[in-house]
Symmetry: C2
Subunit: 430 residues, 2 copies
């Protein structure tokens, strides 16, 4: 993380300064637009920047009373969300010329709260696995991760203090961790999903990127009307859970994690992870189950695109869709029932307030040529619909960022954010 | 039900006749278009009929091999679904001039299976409570029910053998029951929801209208790739469950229901309903909980419309949105956690194969002036995400139809359809 990228005030600070008359929304917007002008050529975070529209919005905000908690806060929106009068390409040449005629519900809620939409951020193809053009702002030559590549990179480069993304397998947590920022994927369906290109309806979840946990919480509060600001966490219910996919972690992650466990053990009493051995065993099958269900649901959600222009889909996505469409009825049903059962069991195994920590990714951001990285540390929680927040508090030997993923049960979003904030305060200076 | 409305072959029969070369898709389509021409002035089921497009599709189907299980089957699509190049008004003047640039996922799946989209059917405002212009084809002067008014009426009048709708509170089961047809609302999220106007993301469920249960199952199979055709049901797990809202039933429904219980008791062993007294008590609070969550989620899903044109929303919908938007954070959170908990408990209380029967509505279709009828018998199951199928096997003294609602646990769609089919075969001739 380059410190000079973060000299601008964050979301909470900006909103407060404007509300107190110490800053104007226009000045805050201009400062972010300048940062975009400086860094965009190098990073490629934006499908389209809407400087003119953003400044007009900012001036209108300055002319009226404080609208809401995001009053004057610049925001990036992943290009699978509809934003009125802006391109809505969803990372696909099929929709190269599409312009949205309306705002997605979440975007309209952000506007209602006073957000200034700076533009549309790059996404992988339909938020799947085909990389966008975006470069990682903090790890030269590396992927920013996917699918919310532009949103993570824009926040990491200080272009915006807040950005919207979505996660179906690991599309919020992974890019946030790779770019060294905070990524919050709430409980499934906590944030409105209307007006967003669907990939897999059972998993698609709107999430938020920010530089700090309170900023991420602010964004989620504005979109849900819930109280989500971090509180002093109950550390007695905190545990380490290496999870059944631990072996997928790189040596760099395993080393950093072991050291983190040591340090954490000195700072907090560590409870036993809340899962029975039987459930941990069942969890081991989730990554594959998740991938199969994702393929089936993608084959349904993208059936129109597959019908009108299969040649404009990437080969990888086409193969994913075809494998989903080819799944026999018995396996489809068994997988759906299994998903429901695992969600029920996961709730049975956990109690309100339980929070556990796992690596956010297998390791640091891999080279761009290798794709967008492996979501294996995210699939389990995406399938269960559990809230996750990654905090950039781990480093490899080359000082590249990695994330600690904070997880709680469905509905425990505030507990997750509280622990995430505590971790940042305690270990974020490392 | 007027017998002359149902002289045309149903969905299964049509697909079979075409596959066997005994009929062409064009002839099947023409026959339905003629029926539309005869009845539409009286009923007003359609936002737009696309006769030309439907005939072109049918001719293209006739020129090629059998595409899928709906090959040549005419279908109506509720106007909250995007259908490429057709109006997409969602029952609101805000979208009076909107034309969809793509197909909703479910529509594309129907096309892939060979369906012939006849046009867009009338819906209440955004699938909420403000009535459409559609008239009940079988009960003069009465509402067809809402929100999928046009889809239910079009099937009841024989204009199409199959139609798509959605249910958020009671928008499939209620209109089907009022119009004397079969309505199937599957388990939550069983059918792809992309490309459909959202009202409340936790409840919106795509459903199917048909004249017979196997036809409804055929439609759902084509959209899910699951095997859903009715089997010989396990009647040992069948029960009557008057449910905590029984007192809302009209005297006509209560009388017909008592008689039905008697007859059913002679035809099948009736198990005890699978719910504990404690859970039945908890269920009594679901209708209000569902209404509150629906208002909150509608305030999020329709935030764009509320921002750009509040004056074009009906007063009722605006009040619903405002009440949702005004809900304090603590109540929002408590309601969401309560919903999750009730879903878990409902699964704990039931076993695979359990099926229970309740009235589909409070009674017969009320007069048009009174609105679209009360969804109170549907809210519990919509909140729980349980599959429901209504079969038109009850009558009041004036021979007006009422429905028996067949319900099972999440994922037990085929068990529900199996009992529904058995009921139609056993009691449908009454």
């Amino acid at each position: 993380m380059k410190d000079q990228d973060h000299d601008l005030p964050g979301a909470l600070e900006t909103a407060r300064a404007i509300a107190e008359g110490r800053m104007t929304a226009e000045a805050a917007t201009r400062a972010r637009l300048e940062r975009c002008a400086e860094r965009e050529d190098e990073i490629g975070a934006w499908v389209q920047l809407d400087a003119e529209g953003a400044l007009a919005t900012a001036r209108a905000l300055d002319a009226g009373p404080v609208r809401g908690p995001l009053h004057g806060v610049a925001m990036g929106v992943k290009d699978i969300f509809a934003v009125r009068d802006l391109p809505w390409r969803s990372g696909s040449p099929i929709w190269r010329d599409r312009v949205a005629g309306f705002d997605a519900g979440s975007v309209a809620l952000a506007r209602r709260a006073g957000a200034v939409i700076l533009g549309k951020t790059e996404t992988t193809e339909f938020a799947g696995y085909k990389p966008s053009r975006t470069r990682n702002p903090v790890v030269p030559g590396a992927t920013p991760g996917g699918s919310s590549s532009g949103s993570a990179a824009a926040v990491a480069a200080g272009m915006v203090p807040l950005a919207l993304g979505t996660q179906t397998s690991g599309s919020v947590i992974r890019p946030a961790a790779f770019c060294g920022v905070v990524g919050f994927k709430p409980s499934f369906d906590l944030i409105e999903t209307g007006g967003i290109s669907v990939f897999a309806r059972s998993f698609d979840t709107v999430g938020v990127f920010a530089r700090t946990v309170p900023d991420a919480a602010l964004g989620a509060e504005a979109l849900t009307g819930l109280a989500l600001q971090p509180l002093s966490p109950e550390l007695s219910a905190l545990s380490i859970f290496r999870s059944p996919v631990w072996e997928s972690a790189t040596p760099a992650m395993q080393a950093a994690w072991a050291e983190f466990e040591d340090q954490l053990g000195k700072a907090a009493p560590l409870a036993r992870a809340p899962f029975s051995p039987g459930f941990v065993e069942a969890m081991a099958g989730i990554p594959e189950l998740h991938a199969r269900l994702m393929a089936v649901e993608a084959s349904e959600a993208l059936s129109h695109e597959m019908a009108i222009a299969p040649e404009l889909l990437s080969q990888g996505l086409r193969e994913q869709i075809e494998s989903g469409a080819a799944q026999p009825p018995e396996l489809r049903l068994a997988d759906r029932l299994n998903m429901t059962d695992l969600r029920l069991r996961a709730m049975d195994e956990t109690r309100a307030g339980d929070v556990w920590l796992t690596p956010a990714t297998t390791g640091v951001a891999p080279p761009s040529e290798s794709g967008t990285g492996d979501p294996i540390f995210n699939r389990i929680w995406s399938l269960l619909g559990f809230p996750c927040c990654t905090v950039p508090i781990l480093r490899d030997a080359q000082d590249r960022p990695m994330g600690v993923q904070v997880i709680g049960r469905h509905g425990d979003d505030r507990a997750v954010l509280s622990v995430a904030h505590w971790l940042m305060e305690r270990f974020g200076g490392a």
